[in-house]
């Protein structure tokens, strides 16, 4: 047990158990659905997971600092629609410019959230519940309820979802999925090793202490909202590429799936713990659930009920099991410190008063 506690943290136990749950789910669904273990299933799940994962990375950053961003669905809708309109009007726009436009629009919308939360001192749930409605309202008004259609888009964009970077056997690794994977890796490394990333954890686990040691809390919280907006913007671009036809309803309700992915992935809703990798696992779990229930046909309506149950289980297991694990780990650490080394005299230690 000791070696385990030395090398594995409680959060990793949490992620490993989610991984186990994913494997169990795949086995269960595999026994219920014919032809489940094929490349087709993999490809479907991979491309549906991409959008949720990209947004969930941004959401994780926000949630780590003890905030929440409920406006992501509306930001995805706005960027998908407006980038689509822009592209429909100028078909020969450079692809990179299009992506930049989507990310820029998302960042601006995220920055608006951030200003209210960081400097207006309005709780994030209120700000983003408000902007969830405002951004969607703006989209409906400015668009005049028109639709972006696939045939008005340039062919490179329409073909993008089917672009393969490489394939292992029949399993295609498509550009969108690899993009999401790349973002996960970048932000996982960033939050694990950069000082900036560790500061987000510090703010979330103890805001008062973070303030006392002089962290620029307002600027960091603002930054997380901008990043969440920017990633939602990128997801908006992916949505545009994947679906082609974009109505003003695009991305509605996405915020629930994203928050679900983050919470199921083991990110504490009160900040301070959880990883980007976990959020991705959460997104994959939800993607598997969605696609498999879709294949089961009878139970498309069961999706939401199961999703709700999954969130509840995730949060409950966090509170009940993870707390115990943490105290177990902490006790082991104490023992390790208290026990004098076997060889030689004990190091100088002040006697307890």
């Amino acid at each position: 047990m000791n070696w385990l506690q030395r090398y594995v943290r409680p959060e990793q136990v949490r992620e490993l158990s989610l991984l186990l749950l994913i494997i169990v789910a795949v086995i269960v669904f595999g026994s219920m659905i014919d032809n489940y273990y094929t490349s087709r299933t993999f490809n479907r799940i991979a491309s549906s997971v991409a959008i949720i994962t990209i947004v969930a990375v941004g959401q994780t950053l926000v949630v780590l600092t003890r905030n929440i961003d409920l406006s992501v669905g509306s930001i995805v809708g706005c960027t998908a629609y407006f980038t689509g309109t822009l592209l429909a009007q100028n078909n020969d726009l450079h692809p990179l410019l299009v992506v930049l436009a989507a990310v820029a629009l998302g960042s601006v919308l995220g920055a608006i959230n951030g200003v209210f939360v960081a400097w207006g001192r309005v709780p994030s749930i209120i700000v983003t519940l408000g902007t969830l409605a405002i951004y969607r309202g703006l989209l409906v008004d400015l668009s005049g309820a028109k639709t972006v259609t696939t045939d008005s888009l340039p062919s490179w964009l329409v073909d993008l979802p089917r672009v393969n970077l490489f394939a292992i056997g029949e399993f295609d690794f498509r550009a969108m999925f690899m993009l999401a994977l790349m973002i996960v890796i970048i932000f996982q490394v960033g939050t694990s090793f950069l000082a900036l990333g560790r500061r987000l954890y510090a703010i979330g686990s103890n805001p008062d202490a973070a303030k006392l040691i002089g962290l620029p809390i307002k600027r960091l919280v603002f930054l997380t909202f901008v990043l969440s907006g920017a990633l939602s913007g990128l997801a908006g671009f992916v949505t545009l590429a994947r679906f082609g036809n974009i109505t003003v309803e695009a991305g509605r309700g996405l915020e629930l799936e994203v928050v679900a992915a983050v919470v199921v992935g083991g990110v504490n809703i009160f900040g301070g713990s959880g990883t980007i990798m976990g959020a991705m696992l959460g997104a994959i779990m939800i993607g598997i659930l969605e696609q498999s229930l879709f294949r089961l046909q009878i139970s498309e309506f069961w999706r939401d009920a199961l999703l709700g149950l999954l969130i509840l289980l995730a949060v409950a297991s966090d509170a009940v099991i993870l707390q115990r694990l943490r105290s177990l780990w902490a006790r082991a650490d104490l023992k390790f410190i208290a026990k004098p080394p076997d060889d030689g005299p004990a190091p100088e230690r002040r006697a307890p008063p």
Binding site: P123, I126, L129, L307, V315
Partner: protein
């Protein structure tokens, strides 16, 4: 400025806002203050304002219930499902109410006994209860309820006042008495102000929270059933997204999202402000989506403005925040 002074000025602000909105509306239409229009005003959002009353208690208690709109949908769908199975209508109504009570107690159990954050629990409820509603009715609307049930939603009872409005008025009085002059009401404030202190002084925090979540579920179910009666048919996605309006009403009424402060008079005023605002925007032919945007902006402003006022008054007094 004392807390009481600020509270008073907040309600003063709401009252001023109300007068301005009503004045502008009268400018638009001379029949605005007619009895018919005022009844209509209430009738169009009656379900939301009924739920806002109990939401006030939940938020003052320091919790939040995001699942109310889904519970409204769930209750209506349970009712419709039971009705379709051949259950007599009164029993189906009881079934709907019980489903709401069960949903509320289920939320309450996880919050009060397991100690989970209500934000996460009711978010799960928001998704999950809607899911159950969808399982029950799938994607077809259910209608053809008995005539008397539809009349409950539409028929005037006392003069031009409908059953829903009477229920709203009764609930307003009951909840006002509970919150402001009963032991339970004091406990709601104490727990919202300082959960630890409340626990250490031997208050049965769990019981109070269970009561509130149970009541929240039941009243949301009642509102959902009234909504079904008003529309005359039930769909899986009915009342979806209502939580935004409901929470906006409560917070605009001066209730703190962190719990412990606010009162029902403020919420009453904010109900009038929002109803008149929506109706006024309708008169000025502003569409539903823009209306929702304005409500969203109002939600942010209702917290931002007091914050800014606090900052400015602190600067004025030479204190740093």
């Amino acid at each position: 400025m004392s807390a009481l002074g600020r509270l008073k000025s907040w309600e003063g602000l709401l009252l001023a806002l109300l007068v301005i909105i009503v004045a502008v509306n009268i400018e638009h239409s001379p029949y605005y203050l007619g009895v018919g229009n005022i009844v209509n005003l209430f009738q169009l959002s009656i379900e939301k304002i009924i739920v806002a009353l109990i939401m006030t208690l939940v938020i003052i208690n320091g919790e939040i219930d995001l699942s109310v709109a889904s519970v409204m949908g769930l209750a209506a769908c349970v009712l419709a499902w039971l009705f379709e199975m051949g259950t007599p209508m009164p029993l189906a109504i009881v079934g709907g109410l019980l489903a709401g009570l069960a949903a509320g107690l289920f939320n309450g159990f996880w919050v009060a006994y397991v100690g989970l954050p209500s934000l996460a629990v009711t978010l799960a409820g928001l998704i999950g209860y809607r899911g159950i509603a969808r399982i029950l009715v799938e994607d077809h609307p259910i209608g053809n309820f008995p005539e008397w049930f539809n009349l409950v939603g539409q028929q005037p009872l006392i003069g031009p006042v409908t059953v829903s409005i009477v229920i709203f008025a009764l609930l307003f009085v009951i909840i006002a008495i509970t919150l402001h002059s009963s032991a339970l009401g004091r406990l709601v404030y104490v727990i919202g102000n300082n959960l630890q202190a409340a626990r250490y002084s031997g208050i049965r925090v769990r019981l109070v929270k269970m009561t509130l979540f149970g009541a929240s579920g039941t009243i949301a179910a009642l509102a959902g059933i009234l909504y079904a009666a008003r529309l005359g048919s039930v769909r899986g996605d009915m009342a979806a997204g209502f939580e935004l309006d409901i929470i906006t009403i409560v917070l605009l009424g001066g209730v703190s999202i962190f719990g412990g402060s606010g009162n029902l008079a403020g919420v009453g005023l904010s109900i009038l402000v929002i109803l008149n605002l929506r109706n006024g925007m309708g008169l000025a032919s502003i569409t539903g989506n823009t209306q929702t945007s304005v409500i969203g902006a109002l939600l942010i402003l209702s917290v931002l403005v007091p914050n800014m006022a606090q900052t400015i008054s602190n600067k004025w007094n030479g204190r740093e925040t």
